[in-house]
């Protein structure tokens, strides 16, 4: 057991965790942030993607102890003051989700892409989503949603 202090969705958090605790379990079980999902045990599906200090990572492949002192953002922290993030708006507008299970990871991954590449083309988006599996949408509308979000966020040339 050790005490981990960090910021989650802008709020300071401090909790005792076992050294083996995965970040995703810390978020879901300790903090009750169940928007971050677990879809596999080989770190490939991406349902658990969150941001640590602004970059997207798989929270199933990181220990809670490793995020001490960091700022973590989960899907619950995307909207601010009741206003949806453009990526959330875009996923709804473009029907980028069906069952909704992969959606948080997809959106968190998409936000990181747009941060790095303000105007990604279709191929860049598809390649970026290498680490995110969706079984419902065939990715068509996810790609369209991320492209649209990038445009909304001001990147489109």
């Amino acid at each position: 057991m050790s005490t981990v202090s960090l910021t989650v969705n802008g709020k300071p958090v401090s909790a005792d965790v076992e050294s083996r605790t995965l970040l995703v379990d810390f978020l879901r079980e300790t903090l009750g942030l169940t928007g971050t999902h677990v879809g596999c045990d080989t770190s490939q599906c991406g349902a658990c993607v969150v941001h640590v200090d602004g970059t997207s990572i798989k929270s199933c492949a990181m220990l809670a102890a490793e995020v001490a002192g960091s700022a973590v953002t989960t899907v619950e922290g995307l909207a601010s003051n009741g206003t949806l993030h453009p990526i959330q708006e875009a996923f709804r507008e473009h029907h980028g989700l069906q069952c909704g299970y992969c959606t948080p990871g997809m959106m968190m991954s998409g936000v990181d892409l747009i941060a790095q590449n303000a105007d990604p083309d279709e191929q860049e988006i598809r390649e970026w989503l290498e680490g995110n599996l969706c079984r419902c949408t065939g990715y068509h509308n996810i790609v369209a949603a991320i492209k649209s979000a990038a445009a909304t966020m001001g990147g489109a040339s």
Partner: protein
């Protein structure tokens, strides 16, 4: 039409919770005092179970209890029932072996549950499970269809000789023989339909809970049909009457068939919760999903098509061995029989058809319905045969299909394999697809690709599927042990807003939006005034759930009929309020009016009157709430034409999809945005089967493709943008005209992909290849090494 009615591309109501991380999936739920379960599963494909020593596990930290099959037997817990009985062609019923929730006597596949560990935490349960000492005495396995059907094969069940569950037939053998005798050409094909693992991204999960004060059991489970689970588990396994068992399927993260079935873990959690006096939760790890979710497909088939000199189809003969796995899953026996062979007419006028299907036990995970369920297998057989026939006869692939299509004036059309198609326009749908794909421009594109050293091919499939399960009497006559109607309940509240209860279940399909649109359209209230409730036997009257593209055609029709009943009752109330005869009152756009007058009263006022019946028709019950049980008159018959274009890198064998076009006739479209999404998803899964996915067991029955490291799921970069089109003919026998869209992609596209690959490889003397067309298999064909 109002702007939230039928035909509107309304944005989904349910999205609000999913995009903010507030979906409520089973694993998101935690009950007070909850313990955690971990299941010890067999590492052996086939073994006698010797002693199971639980001593060390029981004394491990945090362990609450450890249970084995003996504990279930002592409590007289029943086995998992099968929902469909098939009879062999000689009239004998299928071999129906027991299916205990924890193995007893023998284990029969890798992943077979052997013991249940309940502990304070998941980690403690998992750790203790490793301490359960099981004496497995390995037996030789029947690991696949070929092994299982070989002479002297090990028997999965001692009373299933030759590992046969049934030897079933459909169609007219004599007429088919005669057709072949008189034929000018006979085209034959041997093929497999590859085994798949459904892989909804949400792993299965279950929480059992027992309230002794009310003697009430509650099961939270990742199910596509909570009422079916309540019925099967309550009546056949645990002996709990319906009024003491509540089954809740909250948000479910994809199903694709794999979450229809009644699984052992549902029994174990419900039973264990009462045993240990605490809620007990189990969530599958993905590696468990691979070895415990029902798999799909897995056929070995020999087929032959007889044609006359001009290319007209005269007869079709199909023999299939279908892998059922080690146990019969809920609908397993029905999938390769009534959901498969009944589709062999396809969209063609073939007059004589005979199919013989052997259901085979193997030491593998049970096989059951996976998106398409029997129909993709049938369409793959037909559409590969048709392409091969065109090649053999030197006919154009489009023309041979046109020549054999059932024409619009032939409907209703009785096929030789039990189905009566109500309506369709196959040629119109084909034309839509060919236009989307610029079929005519292909030769130029092939030439251009060749200049880049690439092999380009184009492929086509035209198909019919049977959806809208099902007319209960018909299904019953074919062996179904349940009705297949659906229930809709419409509650108009005193102020005019509406709650709809449906027995179907949405796990991605967007019912909360689509069904609200039906109500909006008919009642004239905005869709945001309509709440759709599903997934809880505690609030929904009854239901058969969501599978087989049935939700709109059957569930939507039930809601439609319930709305009609509301209008009928409302008309009486309105007539009373307006002092008119009910016969003179019409309802439109949310208002009741007296014909030929300017008198009208809004639905909201009628609703209020129904709940505040001070001035009210004599003899009429207060309230405005109606329930409809809708039993369809026939199946529905969505149809489509899919065109796929590929480019192959001859150096590596990699197949790149360059164009995927799907034109479908799904009947009335309520929400075009959702319909497109359903088509996309089905296409992706069909393409997955055609190019990437394959479940492989080795000869020892070990699951080789047991994780995402080697079971290839389609990813974004594997797929292009899809082009979709429609050519709608409304279903003639349900009030919405709906047919179903959930499965068209996975049914229609696999043969189109393979037909395109075979076309691209036409210079290499290949006329068939099995799925998946992996790069190595394609490379082997190009290098003459065999596919």
């Amino acid at each position: 039409m109002n702007d939230t009615g039928i035909g509107a591309a309304l944005r989904r109501k349910e999205d609000a919770r999913f995009i903010t991380g507030r979906g409520r999936f089973t694993d998101d739920i935690n009950r007070p005092g909850q313990a955690y379960a971990f299941i010890v599963r067999s590492p052996e494909a086939h073994a006698e179970l010797g002693a199971i020593d639980t001593t060390d596990a029981e004394s491990a930290p945090g362990v609450v209890a450890v249970f084995t099959g003996a504990d279930l037997a002592a409590d007289e817990v029943g086995g998992l029932p099968c929902g469909w009985q098939i009879h062999s062609k000689n009239g004998t019923p299928m071999v129906e072996p027991p299916h205990p929730a924890l193995a007893q006597g023998r284990v029969r596949h890798v992943g077979d549950p052997v013991a249940l560990v309940v502990a304070e935490t998941k980690a403690e349960a998992r750790a203790a499970a490793g301490l359960v000492d099981v004496d497995y005495r390995p037996l030789p396995p029947a690991a696949n269809l070929v092994q299982a059907r070989a002479d002297g094969a090990p028997l999965v069940w001692d009373d299933a000789a030759g590992n046969l569950c049934y030897d079933w037939e459909l169609g007219d053998a004599a007429a088919t023989d005669a057709a072949f005798e008189g034929a000018d050409h006979v085209v034959t094909l041997e093929l497999t339909n590859s085994r798949l693992i459904p892989n909804a991204i949400e792993p299965r999960a279950a929480i059992g809970e027992y309230d002794p004060s009310a003697d009430m059991h509650t099961l939270y489970t990742t199910s596509q049909n909570p009422h079916v689970i309540r019925l099967l588990m309550g009546a056949f396994v645990l002996g709990i009457p319906e009024h003491k068992l509540r089954v809740v399927s909250p948000d479910v993260g994809g199903g694709f068939g794999s979450k229809i079935f009644h699984y052992a873990e549902e029994v174990l959690m419900t039973w264990a919760a009462k045993k240990v006096g605490r809620p007990v939760k189990w969530t599958a790890e993905r590696s468990e999903s691979f070895m415990s979710d029902a798999h799909g497909r897995d056929h070995v088939t020999t087929a032959a098509l007889a044609l006359d000199a001009e290319g007209a189809f005269l007869g079709l003969r199909v023999k299939t061995d279908a892998n059922l796995g080690a146990y019969l899953s809920t609908f397993g026996p029905a999938v390769p029989t009534y959901l498969y062979a009944t589709l062999f007419a396809g969209c063609y006028t073939t007059p004589a058809i005979y199919a013989n299907v052997k259901g085979v036990f193997t030491n593998t995970v049970p096989v059951d319905a996976y998106r398409g369920a029997g129909r993709p297998e049938a369409v793959f057989v037909l559409e590969r045969l048709v392409d091969k026939a065109a090649k053999m006869l030197g006919m154009d692939r489009v023309e041979i299909r046109r020549k054999n299509f059932i024409q619009p004036d032939q409907f209703p059309y009785q096929t030789p394999v039990a189905l009566e198609y109500d309506v369709g326009d196959y040629e119109g749908t084909l034309d839509t697809a060919l236009e989307l794909a610029d079929w005519g421009g292909f030769p130029g594109r092939r030439e251009e690709a060749a200049s880049r050293g690439k092999l380009r091919g184009i492929g086509l499939s035209t198909f019919v599927e049977a959806c809208g399960l099902a007319p209960s009497a018909v299904a019953g006559a074919l062996g179904a042990r349940a009705g297949l109607f659906e229930v809709g309940q419409v509650r108009v509240h005193p102020t005019g807003s509406v709650t709809v209860f449906t027995g179907t279940h949405s796990h991605g399909q967007g019912h909360e939006t689509t069904f609200a649109q039906i109500v909006s359209d008919r009642l004239g209230v905005s869709a945001d005034q309509v709440e759709v409730v599903h997934g809880d036997t505690g609030s929904v009257p009854f239901g058969m759930g969501t599978y087989g593209s049935r939700s709109l055609a059957v569930g939507g029709s039930a809601i439609y009929n319930a709305v009609e009943k509301v209008i009928e009752k409302g008309t009486k109330i309105a007539a009373h309020l307006m002092e008119a005869s009910p016969e003179d009152v019409t309802f439109e756009n949310g208002s009741f009016s007296v014909v030929g007058t300017d008198k009208s009263v809004a639905l909201g006022d009628v609703a209020l009157t129904a709940y505040v019946p001070h001035n009210y028709p004599e003899g009429l019950e207060p309230g405005l709430e109606e329930t409809a049980f809708y039993d369809p008159k026939n199946f529905t018959f969505p149809a489509g034409a899919h065109v796929v274009e590929v480019e192959i890198d001859p150096e590596t064998g990699v197949v790149e999809l360059v164009n995927v076009c799907a034109a479908d006739d799904v009947g009335t479209i309520v929400n075009p945005m959702i319909v497109e999404g359903q088509m996309h998803g089905g296409l992706a899964q069909g393409i997955g089967q055609a190019l990437l996915e394959e479940c492989i067991y080795d000869d020892e029955g070990q699951l080789v493709t047991g994780s995402y490291m080697n079971y290839t799921m389609p990813r974004a970069a594997d797929l292009p943008y899809f082009k979709t089109g429609h050519n709608i003919t409304a279903c003639t026998h349900n009030p919405l005209g709906a047919k179903g869209v959930g499965e068209v992609g996975s049914i229609g596209v696999p043969p189109a992909v393979i037909n395109a690959v075979v076309d691209a490889l036409s210079d290499y003397g290949v006329d068939h290849m099995n799925m998946p067309a992996t790069s190595e298999r394609v490379w082997r064909i190009i290098n003459g090494a065999g596919g």
